[in-house]
């Protein structure tokens, strides 16, 4: 009422001022290029394409269904479907993206492409150092630059990646069981009952 609030506040800032010289744990900031805070698992910056195995071109999960391209709010994804097909993780022949470009300068990191992808092929990266000195070509990332291995996905989002892997394994097991059942049915036509569908 009589201005004692101002004095109280000034005492508080003075305490912070003096304290920041005395105790280092008061300092909340990080001296960025030299020291870095531990990466945050829930962080999301920019999408990348996941591939299985060692060869990025063979293992790419994307089947060029173009759902993400249609759903992208700022329309920063450009996909061209391949003419031929390659087998996906269950062995089924699928299209693959002949061209997959994302414009970093347009992307708004909304994660909608990740939400809509039915093939777990596009995920959010945590790498934020995307600056480049080439403002035309350097900001348009093609599929080679976007492709990152599944191990990398595990390293940045361990919980999420483990969950995705079990789901994919379940699907693969289901598909394998179906395929073996079909093969068995073909080998012995009068088989009365096929094995239960739920694998894994």
């Amino acid at each position: 009422m009589f201005g004692e609030g101002i004095l109280k506040g000034m005492a508080e800032t003075a305490r912070n001022f003096a304290g920041s010289f005395v105790s280092a744990e008061r300092l909340t900031t990080v001296q960025y290029p030299e020291e870095r805070p531990a990466p945050i698992e829930a962080a999301r910056v920019f999408p990348f394409l996941v591939y299985d195995g060692a060869d990025w071109e063979a293992g790419m999960r994307c089947v060029a269904c173009q759902i993400c391209e249609k759903e992208c709010p700022p329309k920063c994804i450009y996909i061209e479907k391949s003419a031929d097909k390659k087998p996906d993780y269950v062995g089924k022949p699928q299209f693959y993206p002949a061209k997959f470009d994302i414009d970093v300068s347009v992307c708004m990191s909304c994660q909608i492409c990740v939400e809509v992808c039915p093939f777990e092929a596009i995920k959010m990266d945590t790498d934020f150092e995307l600056a480049t000195d080439d403002r035309f070509g350097g900001l348009l990332l093609d599929r080679e630059k976007l492709a990152k291995p599944n191990d990398y996905y595990h390293s940045i989002h361990p919980t999420e990646a483990a969950e995705v892997d079990t789901r994919l394994a379940e699907e693969k097991a289901k598909a394998d069981a179906k395929a073996s059942a079909a093969a068995a049915a073909k080998a012995t036509p009068p088989a009365p009952a096929k094995p239960a569908g739920g694998g894994a």
Binding site: G9, M10, S20, Q31
Partner: protein, 391 residues
Amino acid sequence: MFANLDQIFVLLEHWVVGFLPAFLQPAALIVLGVIGIIVAFPSLFAITVLLERKGLGRMQNRIGPNRVGPFGILQPVADGIKSLTKEDIVPLRADAVVHFLAPVYLVAVVFMGYAVLPVGRNMTLVNLDAGLLFYFAMGASTELSVFMAGWASRNKYSLLGAMRAIAQMISYEVPLLLSSVAVVMITGSLSLNKIVEAQNQYSYGLPHWYIFTPWGLAGFLMYATAATAETNRSPFDLPEGESELVAGYFTEYSGFKFAEFFLGEYVGMLSISGLGTTLFLGGWSAPLSVLSWVPSWIWFFAKVMMSMCVFIWMRGTLPRLRQDQLMNFAWKFVLPYTLLILMDTALWRFMGDGWERWLVCSAILLVAYILMARTGMHRKHFGPRRYRYAD
């Protein structure tokens, strides 16, 4: 030796001027003085900006700039180079001439105020008899520059910022002037040199600064409040409130023009601190008679930098006021209280030298302060707000 050190700049100036023919000497003395001011205060501005950035950082538990040079002390240089090399953008629909003139005018007017400030013993550029009047005339002209900038930019944020600035600066100009009138009443002179001389006396080794009297202390507090508002500093920085007006009246300025506004603002702060020092803190006089051997200009600059540190400290502490709070504070509290200080000063002047005047004058000011605070806060509710539409 110390007497020479005290007068070193004056002696240096006369030594340099001595090389010129006699008819050029008066003009050369003035030019050298102007150069001194133009060199000294912008360098203080650079130091202040660095202090502010480091100090505010520390108050927010950050380190502050620490990359350019050792401990970041070359940061002002980097800032300067950056603002000089930036593109100067003038909006298409802006009034180009006025847009250009506004920052130039601001800097020119702010530097004019230094002409009458006594920076040290015998170190006043122009010893005007009505120095205080001249200072306030120059200080009030900054409002014109602010409005020029806001109007010429043709931008709604600029115009709103300028309108706020005009309302605020005119409102606080009144208490600023009235609180200095108290000093004039006691000294009996508008000359800033005479005001410093009147305070440069000691009894029992303690100085006769006006801040050490009841009316002087109250007057100084009112002066400091009004000066903060006058220079658009936090918590009275509504004209340039970043959160709602981008940058207020200089939204549309970039490059060196922006730097000029920045310079004008800080040099204005330095100058108004200098005037406050002169009026209430004894100008260049030493705080203790045993310290009188220290050069007078050191005391002046030390006091100015101390007030700048308080400015920075307040900025780090206080949140911005709302426009109506600002106006209520000016017209309902600061102005009536300054008028009361004037009457109190008159009482002090005519009550003689006894101890009674200390008691009576302090009691009047204290009781008035408590009463005004109580009535001002009457039926005001504080705490979290409830919005009916949000329930």
